[in-house]
Symmetry: C2
Subunit: 462 residues, 2 copies
């Protein structure tokens, strides 16, 4: 069996030919990690500055100073608002004037500032991103303005019923777990946010030990390392000093703990013991439903079985959910299943948007399809199709430098090992029919969480 590429935190250099691309990794004594994947023949590159801090790290019992809910996302916004040498307009124009795509995302376990640019424009993008991450001024005036922008962002999300359903699902399925909280906070916490709290978060969480820079495409590894180190050194702030020795931070040091454990690796327990219905009443044409439960954490060895099961259950036009809900009964336009994994917990859900009077039937159909796989497994034809779908869609996705840049970042910050395509496909092929049934059974046994958003009062759900 092929093995994933390990990313030990104490290994200063790594250089691997992936057969087509070349992966290099540098762990600097300061704690800074730089990973690149060179793709020959490509004329552009994607670069990401990852900080291993996400919304789940806010307001932990041990560190109230990390700020109020939503402060991680608030900080992400503020990093675009200026440094001592670049104001917000200069940052915006530096990307726009070369047609680079730049953006940032705050996730539950990390924050990433990223850009995609032509090869000749990459260095400029790296310089600006490095300046943003190390030297933001978090100006009070900009802070007040950005508070309004974020409130508009939350209002926009509140008008998107599928978005609301997803947030509700996390909260309802994970209960008090920090992963259950909404990433952006709430209008209340954003109105209450103080600049000093966000600054505190920035000062305590951002330093070379939590920073990972990844790039893919037309990228020169040594040059990237040099550029990032130079930017850190130029910041002047001692917390960015590249002279200090630091241990790089990774959330879960032991990625495949479950594999070595003698106990059967169970899914994280749901916070409620019986099926739980969570309703958000909103005027709407459709009711957006998610039926699901807690799932697998990122390093769980059963994730390949889950991936195969998910492909058959709700992964495409030929999947069971699509066929049963849409193609045979016309109950929805969109129906699919999904998994989400974090260092110590995960979620699994089935989504559909449907007319209120059809909502109960859709929920029942979704649960039945999961139960059928738990009971009877999948057919040989479904298995073959799922393996083909995973191989083909992964190959297509990996043509994009964004995908490879993201894979490097998530591997480094998450499990600490990189599954290249062949290794990962080998694991999918090794999944047995019993493995698929077992993971479906684990998910089906867990008490279900049923989220419904929209005009639920008109629906058959209550």
């Amino acid at each position: 069996m092929r093995e994933p590429i390990p990313f030990p935190l104490d290994q200063p250099a790594l250089d691997i030919d992936l057969g087509g691309t070349r992966v290099r990794r540098t762990v600097h004594p300061s704690g800074l990690r730089v990973l690149t994947e060179y793709m020959p023949g490509v004329r552009s590159a994607s670069v990401g500055f990852w900080v291993g801090v996400g919304s789940r790290d806010e307001q932990s019992e041990n560190d109230a100073a990390r700020g109020s809910l939503g402060s991680t996302h608030f900080l992400e916004h503020l990093l675009f608002k200026g440094t001592p040498t670049r104001d917000a307009y200069a940052i915006a124009t530096s990307f726009d004037r070369v047609g680079a795509e730049s953006n940032a995302m705050t996730a539950k376990e990390y924050t990433c500032y990223h850009a995609k640019a032509r090869d000749v424009d990459l260095e400029g993008a790296v310089e600006v991103l490095a300046d943003m991450v190390t030297n933001s001024v978090l100006d009070q005036g900009e802070f007040e303005n950005e508070r309004e922008v974020i409130l508009e962002e939350l209002a926009m999300a509140a008008d998107d019923l599928a978005d609301v359903a997803s947030e509700r699902f996390f909260e309802a399925a994970l209960g008090e777990h920090p992963l259950g909280r909404p990433i952006g906070g709430t209008p209340e916490t954003i109105r209450a946010a103080r600049r000093d709290d966000v600054n505190e978060h920035y000062a305590h969480q951002y330093d070379p030990s939590t920073l990972v820079v990844t790039a893919a495409g037309a990228v020169d590894h040594d040059r990237l390392v040099e550029l990032v180190l130079r930017a850190l050194a130029a910041s002047g702030d001692p917390r960015w000093s590249i002279e200090a020795d630091r241990v790089p931070v990774r959330r879960s040091a032991s990625p495949d703990a479950g594999a070595e454990s003698t106990a059967a690796p169970e899914a994280v327990a749901t916070p409620h013991a019986t099926p739980h219905v969570d309703i958000t009443e909103k005027p709407s044409e459709q009711v957006n439903v998610i039926v699901g439960t807690t799932g697998l954490r990122a390093g769980d060895p059963r994730r390949f079985a889950l991936g195969l099961m998910n492909s058959v259950l709700g992964g495409g036009m030929s999947s069971r959910l699509f066929q049963e809900i849409r193609e045979k009964r016309g109950l929805a336009y969109t129906a699919y299943s999904f998994g989400a994994s974090y260092s110590d917990a995960g979620l699994f859900g089935m989504y559909a948007g449907t007319a209120p009077q059809k909502a109960a039937e859709v929920v029942e159909l979704a649960r039945t399809e999961l139960a059928k796989i738990a009971d009877a497994g999948i057919t040989a034809d479904e298995r073959e199709r799922a393996l083909g779908q995973i191989a083909g869609s992964s190959a297509l996705a990996l043509e994009d430098s964004d995908t490879r840049m993201g894979r490097l970042g998530r591997s480094e910050l998450g499990t600490g090992e990189l599954y290249d395509l062949d290794t990962s496909l080998e694991r999918f092929h090794a999944v047995s029919d019993a493995d698929v049934r077992d993971i479906a059974a684990v998910l089906h046994r867990q008490p279900a969480t049923i989220v419904a958003v929209g005009e639920v009062s008109r629906s058959t759900l209550r």
Copy 2:
């Protein structure tokens, strides 16, 4: 000045080295057109089967047989539902089992069935798409089921306020023009749709003279032509016969008519003489506003000036709308401007999602920014930035075979000429400051259409 590549309807073969890629075009005596762009080093391909018929062609006065509103989109759905040799499930699995991305889009002037697959899977995708386009059975049972799916699709769109705003803008700004109608029809027309109307549409509009097949990436032109001709010949239906001689159909035979005309090419007149406010009241957090007017048709020579103007006005983080509405005042999370062009009409609009109490201010700011460009033009720095943005973002977009496949299809069906990147950039560079002011002035002079969707009753707009 470089010239675009002409696509004359009577030219049987074309083979052009674009410096990096190779464009080939075949016009078969049957009327069928096949265009490819070979991208060296790429291991996948995108293929599209384009039919030069869109929602605007429904229910014209001269041809009531084309079916009711929404029948073009209804037909697009039905083409996935089965042929004599493949049922809907077989079609779905044929794409899924190789992880291909497949989909279709109904636009106002064309319909496109497309797929992206690894190079080794391309032929399979072409076979299935060709079968769908030439041999669909439009089964009555599938028709009834799909009616429900489309009603759910319309319900989903009705819950998306930005989507509703866009549809309302087309109707309000174009009035009775066939381009003003919603692509998918309405719940009423879909409930009333009859299988025979849709079949009539299929039988009368789909034949080799309206069919254009385009592909980009790892594609062999001669082989693609052979595959498509073989599929057409295999259909058995005389309307697909490749023995018959047909003249290929293109919507506008004279793409740059405006350039030769002695009259100043004006924008299409708006259907109303004074500013017009169109309100859709819906419960919401944000009001979604579009301020705009009729714009330029696809072949209008001023489109390069408009593109430059649009980039400065609302094309990125550094654009005036983003800066004035979001960065300086925190009034919105999203603010941008856009143009849409069709063979004989176009639209230009400025969009923002904002709190109800800020809606009037946002509308005023947007109109003021357009007026300022009409009055004083753009700065040299803005011009340089816009040119860089267009060059960079176009280059990045053209790395994707989807973009090139789409460019071929729209060029063939639309203006009948292909602007490669260098030619197009040369036109942008040739735009003068006066050209930019002039197009802003034309747009600003037209009576404005103001669309607002959401809880407008709470807003400052009325």
